[in-house]
Symmetry: C2
Subunit: 247 residues, 2 copies
DNA sequence: GAATCCGCGATTGTATACAAAAAAGGAGCG
DNA sequence: CGCTCCTTTTTTGTATACAATCGCGGATTC
């Protein structure tokens, strides 16, 4: 195969079938966020560009981009804010968890409000997906089997449906930026969650019912309540753990 | 203060105060945002890193940082999202303005809710500042004099007091990221605003009164209403301008 | 004359070199 | 032993060189 031909073929495929090569700073962002969320980078520990770059085997440039974004979203904080910032993984505190859950609850509540105001046909479609999602959760709750990651993903999916089907681009963007941070706290009480799962399923049922009725106020309240109760469950666990800022 | 800390602090301040230089990417962010908000970069027009870098007389590196942030906040959008992004100034549309004002109204509404739940002493202090701020606006409204920038700054200041005195760090950050974008739309009807100013002053009075009473629901609603009415005033102006995406 | 292909300039993404600044450490002095 | 000043090391911010890719316009072919 001549080089020329090969080049032409490559160009054609890149135009038609998406070449799945990702930008380095997207990869860095994704991996770093994963490391933080899963606790492989301890809350409060310093984050040094060069270290991350070595770890991910790329240069500092894309790492910088990723860190800027993570900082803006709140996964990483600058604990010295003179000309040269020093970054650290954001600590997990009771106050922060309270504000985080409160905000997410209200953001999703707004999405639910919009959703409940849509016409009946659209709502019926969404309700179907919500029911399916909640049924899976219910099955897990009864089984008592507990892969916490699976539970989180399912719960996350349920809430994602709410946002995707109603929120505009801006609200979706805000939601996408802050919602995943709840996972950091979720993992704190992952073991204690299975017995609480049944309650969550119940709360979801209330949400679905309000949307089905097209009752915007009720839908918003139900979603807020779901998050508020989640925050309280979380607070109890944090309390019992003795609120250590880092681990 | 122990001698140790005092000496260290003195050394630090003396060195920092000597040259209070700002990081280039902070300057770039500020200047670029200003250019976009004031319309010197037309909505929809392409944004090229090298051009901006030449214009600000710095290298592309800090410009890139600034653009990433502006993109995340919504001032700039990627209109081709393959491996190489092409950026453009976010266009001003009726839909976007509606979502923007709606979100800001709800965010600030939440801040107002928190504020109204504080103890009476704190509230009284804030109410004082709000009254002072609104009094200035009222004076401008009566005078009919109309430096629109001054009006915007005053109105912005009023709302800023609400957020600063009640919202936690996360809510404040979200607010700080999206609120300034309303100025882009505000400027569209800056000329037609002076006669509407009286109404805004009245709406502010309702907000203040609800906070003074400590009525959280009423405070939240009043703030939401203020923004909703603002959005409607804006929509009328956009309508009359024929909704041209760029100018 | 229209569609397609090719090549080149324009533009973004990445790596690296360099500058500046913060922190860490160590010698000297009391 | 503690404090201060100075040097050294670590780490961030900026500039620049290089690579990859996008898009446009002209050439080619039928």
């Amino acid at each position: 195969m001549t080089p020329k031909f090969k080049a032409a073929a490559a160009r054609r495929t890149s135009r038609v079938a998406a070449d799945h090569r990702e930008r380095s700073f997207d990869v860095a962002y994704r991996k770093l966020r994963e490391l933080i969320v899963r606790g492989r980078l301890s809350p409060g520990s310093r984050v040094v560009e060069a270290d991350i770059a070595r770890r991910l085997e790329i240069s500092r440039t894309p790492v910088r981009s990723a860190l800027h974004r993570l900082q803006q979203e709140g996964y990483v904080v600058a604990y010295r804010t003179t000309r040269q910032a020093r970054l650290a993984v954001a600590p997990l505190t009771k106050e922060d968890s309270r504000e985080l859950y409160w905000i997410v609850g209200h953001i999703e509540g707004l999405a639910g409000r919009l959703l409940a105001q849509q016409d009946e046909a659209s709502r019926a479609h969404v309700v179907e997906r919500l029911l399916a999602s909640n049924a899976e959760l219910s099955k897990l709750a009864e089984g008592g089997s507990g892969d916490p990651s699976r539970i989180f993903d399912l719960d996350m999916g349920f809430h994602q449906v709410l946002v995707d089907s109603a929120a505009g681009p801006r609200l979706s963007a805000i939601h996408a930026a802050i919602k995943p941070q709840t996972e950091r706290y979720w993992r704190l009480y992952a073991s204690a969650i299975t017995d609480q799962l049944g309650k969550s399923v119940e709360e979801h049922a209330h949400i679905i019912e309000a949307i089905e009725r097209g009752d915007a106020d009720a839908a918003e309240r139900a979603i807020q309540l779901n998050w508020q109760l989640g925050a309280e469950r979380l607070a109890r666990v944090i309390e019992s753990l003795g609120e250590r800022g880092s681990w």
